[in-house]
């Protein structure tokens, strides 16, 4: 033993590697990580074939990484070290003023964006009547004062403007202009990439203005607050020091809500407010097809709206029940039917296409608009 004490580096390396190896092998596997808000990889099945064709090894390494003992503590140690080195970013998320976390998006996939623009443009050309398009900027675009100086992020205002320039036969809603005057209010979450319910309300207002509808007054609705929301930015940056958000939602009674042929008692998934991924409480998360029948008083012919959307629309949709009797919400990522067949079989008074700009640029399901 005394001999070994003269070799502290070797002792350190062997003991560290050996003990963590044994501990890691003995520790039970976790299914889900609350810190990262995702499912962790499980042990892959070994077969000679999967080993020889090279598919086993990367799976096994992913499993090893995901299930490494004390994973959350190691992640926190790395985040602390990044902060100590003066970094404002970790894993593609940037920490700004006032507890805000932002996306770091230096470039877009130009090819995908072009494809998506073409798909939307073709859809609008084929649709009789004018659909509405609202592309919502991410928080860093609107809250520029809170973003670290010099971060060369993609200019979403310019991107949305150039997208709008290439679209015809549409009512184009300038979400940037609707949100910017409210930059000092809580219109985006600090730890999540979505807009808040208040931000969505301003988007809703802009939509109503463009469509000549009377927006429901926020004061007339009963708010509820859900504290301790840690969103997607938090899951990526994993800064334990981050401030949690509060989710606000309003009582909006409906006659019925059906998502992917299943009925739900209301617009909000009450039990989800208690879980980690609280934003998924709006409309019970993302579904391919959701149909909402509003509880508003009948005013002649029922008015119907069709929304193509990403998750940004989930907290906006409740407001729309004040103006429409029936709202059909389609999330193309999960919608398996033909959109064109669906349009032929149903009639709508209005169509709204609502996406966040980054989601719109990245989306790989928009081609389904024309299928």
């Amino acid at each position: 033993m005394r001999k070994w004490l003269r070799c502290p580096a070797a002792l350190l390396l062997f003991a560290f590697a050996g003990l963590f190896c044994l501990w890691d092998a003995a520790a039970p596997d976790r299914a889900f990580s609350d810190l990262e808000n995702r499912y962790l990889a499980q042990p892959p099945d070994f077969s000679l074939r999967s080993f020889l064709d090279g598919s086993f090894c990367p799976d096994y390494e992913e499993y090893l990484d995901d299930q490494f003992v004390l994973r959350d503590s190691w992640i926190s140690l790395k985040a602390a070290s990044e902060t100590a080195l003066g970094k404002q970013e970790n894993n593609g998320v940037v920490a700004g003023e006032d507890g805000y976390l932002f996306d770091k998006r230096l470039a877009l996939d130009a090819e995908q964006l072009e494809k998506n623009t073409a798909a939307l443009s073709a859809f609008l050309a084929g649709y009789e009547g004018d659909a509405s398009v609202m592309i919502v900027p991410s928080s860093y675009q609107v809250l520029q004062d809170k973003v670290p100086a010099g971060l060369p992020n993609v200019d979403q205002a310019a991107g949305i403007a150039s997208l709008y320039d290439s679209l015809d036969h549409a009512v184009l809603i300038d979400a940037c202009a609707a949100l910017e005057p409210h930059a000092e209010e809580e219109i985006y979450y600090r730890t999540d990439h979505h807009w808040t319910t208040l931000g969505a309300y301003y988007g809703y207002e802009a939509y109503c203005l463009a469509r000549g509808l009377e927006p429901v007054a926020l004061e007339s609705l009963t708010p509820h607050e859900v504290p301790d929301f840690y969103g997607t930015y938090y899951s990526r940056a994993k800064l334990r020091s981050a401030r949690s958000d509060t989710i606000v939602y309003y009582d909006v009674p409906v006659l019925s809500m059906e998502a992917d042929l299943e009925s739900y008692p209301g617009l909000y998934w009450e039990s989800q407010w208690q879980r980690r991924d609280k934003y998924a409480a709006f409309l019970y998360g993302n579904h391919g097809l959701t149909v909402i029948r509003s509880a508003r008083e009948a005013q002649g012919e029922p008015k119907r709206l069709l929304v193509f959307k990403d998750s940004f629309a989930n907290c906006l949709a409740p407001f729309l029940t004040a103006n429409y009797d029936e709202i059909t919400v389609i999330d193309l990522r999960y919608f398996q039917m033909s959109v064109q067949d669906y349009l032929d079989a149903h009639s709508f008074d209005d169509v709204l296409i609502l996406y966040n700009y980054l989601n719109f640029a990245d989306d790989t399901a928009l081609y389904r608009l024309n299928r």
Partner: protein, 462 residues
């Protein structure tokens, strides 16, 4: 498998060393060979066959040279040498260069050519050079032919240096292959060296590399001139710590197994001239080319014209060794041009003006690294344009704030300063401080590996 992974650190490493240390001496090389094959086969098992082929070629060639030589005559040994050269260079040419050659053939002749579906086997550039050195040394009579196939296989496959060097010549370790002693002080020094290499790679290279990745993502037509220079510096530091870190890890592991591998880096960024830089950068590769290409071509002993020709050939080959594309060839020739200028146009300049020479060399190296890093020549032109433009924006503020500390730290560790300071330091409990420092490096490296979004190996595919 790479060293800087949880898989290596917390599975392969403890298991392999336990097994190796418990194995009786006469079986150690056999166990080492098996372990190395597992290490190599992980992820890409089919390429083990190519390595076996390379082993078979050179084992046969070595034995053949010995056999023919014992019976007199020169043709036999020559034939064996030619067999090894053709075999190894043929493997390398096929797997590394065939598509490059086909593409250019098609570009010149206009004939349509379908590229071959070959991917580069891991480490082929390294192990073919190692086995070649063996056969050439046997041919020259510098070392006796290896009779034991297991020992020879262990030399070629030796996992510490298998996939990214240093390029260990057979004559460097042939005695250790037969009889090596393993002292505790060797293991201690090996462990410390390994940890320093791990930190270089995971903490310095990866972090510097993230800046370079950002610069590429932003786009060369959008970055400001200062950011273009910072990006080049970040890449220079990334590739240095990436590669020297890997070499240190290899040397450390080798030492813990009882082998002494040659040094591969000696603070290259402190050099005063291109010639000196290459005596300090990837030293085993430059010495390989000197010993097996430059000197056999005649070196500098046949007048200026022959010397220039030899330099040209060596640097073209050095460039192409790094990758099968034009930018690597130009990268090699870039050094050729400046070596020639140094030698004949400005002899003695570096000694007279050391400070200016150092700065000028760093300037040249930054330019050369971009030539190395950007294979697309029009993208390269737009990068140089950004460097020499008057484009200014606030982007530099963000990157200085976020990467300034990491890059400064890396720049300091690229000089012998910290080491000299440490050696001069007189202080009680220095030993404890050293262990604490190494423990911090190990813990931080583990943390960065667990939460790794970025962990490439630049020299991995060479």
């Amino acid at each position: 498998m790479v060293f800087s992974s949880l898989l290596f650190l917390f599975r392969f490493f403890p298991a392999a060393f336990l097994l190796y240390y418990l194995t009786p001496r006469r079986l150690k090389n056999f166990v080492l060979l098996l372990l190395s094959l597992v290490f190599y086969a992980w992820g890409e098992p089919r390429y083990v066959a190519i390595m076996f082929l390379s082993i078979a070629i050179d084992y046969t060639a070595g034995r053949g040279i010995e056999w023919f030589r014992a019976r007199g005559g020169k043709a036999g040994p020559r034939l064996c040498l030619a067999f090894s050269l053709c075999g190894n260079l043929g493997l390398l040419a096929f797997f590394k260069y065939s598509n490059f050659i086909l593409e250019n053939f098609s570009a010149v002749t206009g004939l349509p050519v379908t590229p071959l579906a070959v991917t580069l086997p891991l480490g082929i550039s390294f192990y073919t050079f190692q086995t070649l050195s063996y056969t050439i040394d046997v041919y020259r009579g510098n070392v006796p032919a290896e009779h034991n196939l297991i020992d020879f296989g262990a030399f070629v496959c030796l996992f510490p240096q298998l996939i990214a060097g240093p390029i260990v010549k057979y004559s460097d370790i042939n005695r250790e292959l037969k009889r090596r002693t393993l002292s505790l002080s060797q293991v201690e020094s090996g462990a410390a060296t390994f940890l320093l290499g791990l930190g270089s790679k995971v903490l310095l290279a990866n972090n510097a590399g993230m800046l370079w990745d950002d610069v590429q993502a932003i786009g060369f037509d959008r970055i400001s001139a200062p950011l273009a220079w910072l990006g080049a510096a970040a890449f220079g530091l990334q590739i240095y710590f990436d590669f020297s870190g890997y070499s240190l890890m290899a040397i450390g592991l080798g030492r813990m197994l009882g082998f002494e591998f040659p040094q591969n880096f000696n603070f290259p960024y402190t050099a005063k001239s291109v010639a000196e830089f290459w005596r300090r950068w990837h030293m085993t590769l430059s010495s390989w080319f000197r010993e097996y290409v430059y000197i056999p071509l005649g070196g500098n002993r046949h007048g200026t014209a022959r010397t220039v020709r030899n330099l040209f050939l060596v640097w073209a080959a050095t460039g192409l060794w790094h990758g099968a594309s034009w930018n690597f060839l130009f990268w090699g020739l870039f050094f050729f041009v400046f070596l020639v200028l140094e030698k004949w146009a400005f002899p003695g300049f570096a000694e007279k003006h050391p400070a200016a020479s150092r700065l000028f060399l760093l300037f040249l190296l930054l330019l050369s690294w971009m030539l190395f890093a950007i294979p697309d020549l029009s993208a390269l032109a737009s990068y140089y344009q950004a460097m020499f433009s008057l484009r200014f924006s606030a982007d530099i503020l963000y990157y200085l704030r976020n990467y300034g500390a990491v890059l400064a730290l890396a720049a300091v560790f690229a000089t012998p300063g910290p080491r000299m300071l440490w050696e001069r330091l007189r202080l009680p409990g220095k030993g404890a401080l050293r262990v604490l420092g190494l423990a911090a490096v190990l813990a931080a490296s583990t943390a960065y590996l667990v939460d790794a979004t970025y962990n490439p190996f630049l020299y991995f595919r060479f």
